[in-house]
């Protein structure tokens, strides 16, 4: 009788541990997905702004003969190009990386 009750309690704790492990793996997956999304979103938001001002400074310093308007245009085009490259990388990752993680589930 005591054995039976022991078995039952051990089974219950096993089930609880499995549930806990499942919950932990879900939490881990959510956390890793959050990290990836946060990285790409901050890349897409901050990369063009940084590119704009860095390009403006460097182009101004290197090609001093360029007019002010040309420097501004080059910096703006560079910022937009950097923006689209990072968006393309994010879509690529979401399309190919996302399907792999859903297969693992």
């Amino acid at each position: 009788m005591s054995n039976k009750s022991k078995k039952a309690t051990s089974g219950a704790t096993d089930g609880g541990q499995q549930k806990l492990a499942k919950q932990r793996s879900h939490d881990y997956q959510d956390y890793s997905a959050f990290k990836v999304v946060l990285f790409y979103c901050s890349l897409i938001v901050f990369l063009p702004v940084v590119t704009f001002f860095v390009l403006k400074g460097f182009v101004l310093e290197r090609f001093f003969t360029m007019s002010d308007i040309k420097v501004n245009i080059a910096a703006a085009v560079g910022a937009v190009a950097a923006l689209h490259v990072s968006l393309g990388v994010y879509i690529y990752r979401a399309y190919f990386g996302g399907s792999k993680s859903s297969k693992e589930d």
């Binding site: 959510d30 997905a33 999304v37 897409i44 063009p48 308007i69 245009i73 879509i91 399309y95």
Partner: protein, 159 residues
């Protein structure tokens, strides 16, 4: 002081440039906000049943955010050229107003399109994953509407 302003450099010349810079970011941000909110409701409704699709379904929100960056770039470009009326002709003010309005209204149109397409597309992708490629293509075509406005604005800015 009054002799330094003329018919070509009136005191209200910079007003048009300032309005151009303001309208560039205001209307772009309006479109981007609508796109984010509309596709955000779709993501929230979809994620209840399919939480593993979050990474794919964030794409409309990111694309709506890019619309606001277009407006930001043009507004910063115009704001860099603003000056006192003596150095800022009325013609420059008109050009900057046109550049700001073109990127602003194009961004608003693109943001509305991204919001509606993102809402329906994200809900549909949860039911049929093959829709994802189509949703991305439609979103890209909505996004280039804002890009066309940016190109026209930068071209005007160089005049």
């Amino acid at each position: 002081m009054s002799t330094s302003t003329s018919a070509d450099n009136p005191i209200y010349g910079p007003f048009f440039g300032v309005m151009g810079a303001a309208s560039a970011i205001i209307f772009s941000a309006l479109g981007a906000a609508y796109g984010t909110a509309k596709s955000g409701t779709g993501i929230a409704a979809m994620s209840v049943m399919r939480p593993e699709l979050i990474m794919k379904s964030i794409i409309p929100v990111v694309m709506a955010g890019i619309i606001a960056i277009y407006g930001l770039v043009v507004a910063v470009l115009i704001a860099g050229q603003l000056d006192v009326p003596q150095n800022y002709s009325l013609y420059k003010g008109f050009i900057h107003l046109g550049a700001g309005l073109s990127v602003g209204f194009s961004g608003m149109a693109a943001g509305f399109a991204i919001g509606i397409v993102g809402d329906a597309g994200v809900r549909g992708t949860a039911q049929q994953p093959r829709l994802f490629v189509g949703m991305i293509l439609i979103l890209i075509f909505a996004e280039v509407l804002g890009l066309y406005g940016l190109i026209v604005a930068i071209y005007m800015y160089t005049k």
